[in-house]
Amino acid sequence: MLTRRQLLGGGLAAGAALVIAGLAYEFSPDRALRDPHYRFVILDEEDRAIVAAIAPVMLAGALPAGAVEQVVRGTDVAIAGLPLHVRAQIRQLFGVLRFPLTRMFVAGIWHPWHSANAGEIAAFLQHWRYSPVVQLRSAYDALHQLLMAAWYGNEQAWPPTGYPGPPKVG
């Protein structure tokens, strides 16, 4: 399903420079989430637009206004914490979502991400979630895990859930 061009373009070419940029944050995911001068390690502008489009649908009812940026950054930090072979697979996934033909015919998103509407995105997620193609179900699962972790790892996400945060010790 993936073309060779996508594999190389999405997967490998951007690799080395990003890995080096990532070293600073590998060490401290927590700092990365707070750093006002955060530099994205994995996601470029186009990837970020995709996460920013999916997040309000994946997390509908949970994300307050202005919180999308937190999820986008949290997703970047989460991917940066994965081994290189997993990162490469996630790059492939973003490749499919970016490339217009696969975006349309595999994901069923007919507009560029920034103008895709919520209904279209929900249908895409639902379609992959129940797809007979196991790779698409696993791609849905990856998006689910990444975005959920990116949001619910945050203090900001906790008040509506009733989770009080960690107790005081020491």
Partner: protein, 540 residues
């Protein structure tokens, strides 16, 4: 103020090297080199160094200790777990939790401590020719480790999450029991899975490893054992690659370790992968085969009362009832327990997205979860998985879920819903993508009967990886003998969860502690030529 015994020890002069800080290659000489610092590596390090042997420990993960444990999932998962707690099987059908820090999985585990069940040992004696593995001969070793790690049945009240399991089962006439835990002065916080901030959990990090370091053992962290060098008869050295500080990318530097004896304790998945990378003789292709997981399915209930499953000792109640409703080698049996419920773990596990998912999250304090751990490896339709390697040499576990296991998964989902409704659940949501919250047992049962059982549709997870370097008396079916000695290299032993020829049928840590204590003591005697300290009542 809680004393950080690790920081204190390092200051007092323990020989700890963070390989990510190396600026040149390094050589280390020792009597025994141990790869991995989890349940097996930690236990072995204490016993071998107490026997006067010079020990070096090689650990891929970082050294983190109580003052680093902030009880935050966003910190703990990337820092203390393999693949940020998102390790997957080859087809992505199963998510695997495994530790990756000094102390291995014991640094993040949930403290449940069971001896190896007698029926498991009986199966090993019969099928794998392991006459020394009886409850009686192992008892002194288990008792020794129970004393060492302060293992006692949890004396405080179970938290409400565990109490639902107790109450629901009681209503159905099913016996539950209290879980023994390896804790000392536990604050009952519930954050064992993020590293215990009070040092109450008697993990390897705060017990056996400090004791080995006190005796002069060397600990190398952020150091990945890449390859054993074999001269046709024995291992001559171990090649270790330094990692960068974050532990994802490799540094340019390497460490060469020379030792008289090498011990693999990199865990099931890690140990077989190192053997595969080293291309040691494996004439019957046994390495990595029969890897078991206790595959887990989950059921989420919403209770009328608050449960607060994030608070209190995570596991304190269990039932083995469903391990005994059919023969050991019949349809698969399962142990029922509960997991802790924290926001990231819950959000990534709960099915669905958007409003329906948010509704579940907004009732998180009323959420209750039961897990069924299936006892794999005792039936011809349960051969487990096999460990192979990615192109970059990192391990990959292929674990196909057979119909035999799916049948048990369906039965387990039903059982858990029964117990949750019996305990008064308002609704029950089996963790299956086709499920919705059901408000009656009848509705839940009908739905569960009809679920298509497929990967990435039925949620399956595991925190218990076992096997892959199975032990037994026949080299044709085993990688190591009953003492953990490798069949094809003279000076190589495997001391961790990978030597189990089947799954355990109970949370595995105490099985690893007890069996490693026995085998490491024998190794110490063999290497020193002197009797080692043995538990008083041990006969063989």
């Amino acid at each position: 103020m809680i004393r950080d015994i690790i920081a204190y020890g390092v200051k007092s002069g323990w020989k700890v090297h963070d390989a990510s800080q190396l600026s040149s290659d390094m050589h280390i000489d020792a009597d025994v080199a141990i790869v991995g610092t989890g349940a097996g590596g930690g236990t072995a390090a204490e016993i071998l160094s107490a026997a006067g042997l010079r020990v070096v420990l090689i650990e891929e993960g970082p050294l983190r200790s109580s003052s680093d444990f902030h009880m935050l999932e966003r910190e703990a998962y990337p820092q203390l777990y393999q693949d940020s707690a998102a390790r997957k099987t080859k087809d992505k059908g199963i998510t695997i939790l495994q530790g990756r820090a000094v102390g291995g999985s014991t640094t993040v585990n949930w403290t449940s401590s069971f001896r190896t069940p007698p029926e498991t040992l009986a199966y090993w004696r019969e099928q794998y020719g392991l006459p020394g593995y009886t409850p009686e001969t192992l008892a002194p070793w288990f008792a020794m480790m129970e004393r060492r790690l302060n293992i006692h049945p949890w004396a405080k009240a179970p938290n409400d999450n565990n109490d639902v399991l107790r109450r629901g089962a009681a209503k159905l006439g099913i016996l539950t029991e209290v879980i023994p835990r390896n804790v000392k002065g536990c604050w009952n916080l519930g954050y064992c899975g993020m590293g215990c901030p009070t040092n109450a959990k008697q993990s390897m990090l705060v017990t056996t490893i400090p004791s080995a370091l006190e005796r002069g053992a060397v600990l190398l962290t952020r150091a990945r054992a890449e390859r054993l060098v074999f001269d046709g008869a024995k291992i001559t050295s171990l090649r270790v690659r330094a990692l960068n500080a974050g532990g994802i990318t490799t540094s340019p530097y390497s460490v060469t370790v020379h030792a008289r004896h090498f011990v693999l304790a990199a865990g099931a998945i890690g140990s077989p992968a190192l053997l595969l990378r080293s291309a040691l003789p494996d004439p019957y292709e046994r390495v990595g085969k029969r890897t078991f997981l206790h595959p887990v399915v989950l059921s989420f209930a919403t209770m009328p009362e608050a449960v607060n499953g994030f608070s209190g000792a995570p596991q304190s109640i269990y039932t083995d009832h469903f391990l005994h409703t059919q023969p050991l080698d019949g349809p698969i049996g399962y142990k029922l327990e509960v997991p802790p419920i924290h926001p990231v773990l819950a959000a990534t596990t709960l099915i669905g997205f958007g409003e329906s998912h948010t509704r579940l999250m907004n009732e998180l304090t009323h959420g209750q979860v039961i897990i069924a751990l299936m006892r794999d490896g005792f039936n011809e339709h349960s051969q487990g998985g096999s460990v192979g390697l990615h192109a970059d040499g990192s391990p990959l576990l292929d674990y196909p879920i057979t119909d035999y296991i799916w049948e048990g998964a369906r039965r387990a989902l039903l059982t858990m819903a029964q117990i949750q409704f019996a305990a008064g659940a308002r609704s029950v949501l089996p963790m299956h993508e086709d499920a919705v919250p059901y408000h009656s047992l009848n509705a839940a049962s009908k739905a569960i009967e009809a679920f298509p059982m497929q990967i990435l549709r039925t949620l399956v997870v595991s925190a218990h990886v076992m096997g892959g370097c199975g032990m037994g008396n026949d080299p044709k079916q085993s990688v190591v003998d009953g003492n953990g000695a490798h069949y094809h290299a003279e000076n190589l032993s495997v001391f961790d969860g990978s030597i189990f020829p089947t799954s355990i049928g109970a949370n595995p840590q105490l099985s690893i502690y007890g069996i490693t204590a026995r085998n490491a003591t024998r190794l110490a005697e063999q290497l020193t030529g002197r009797p080692a300290l043995r538990p008083l009542d041990s006969v063989s």
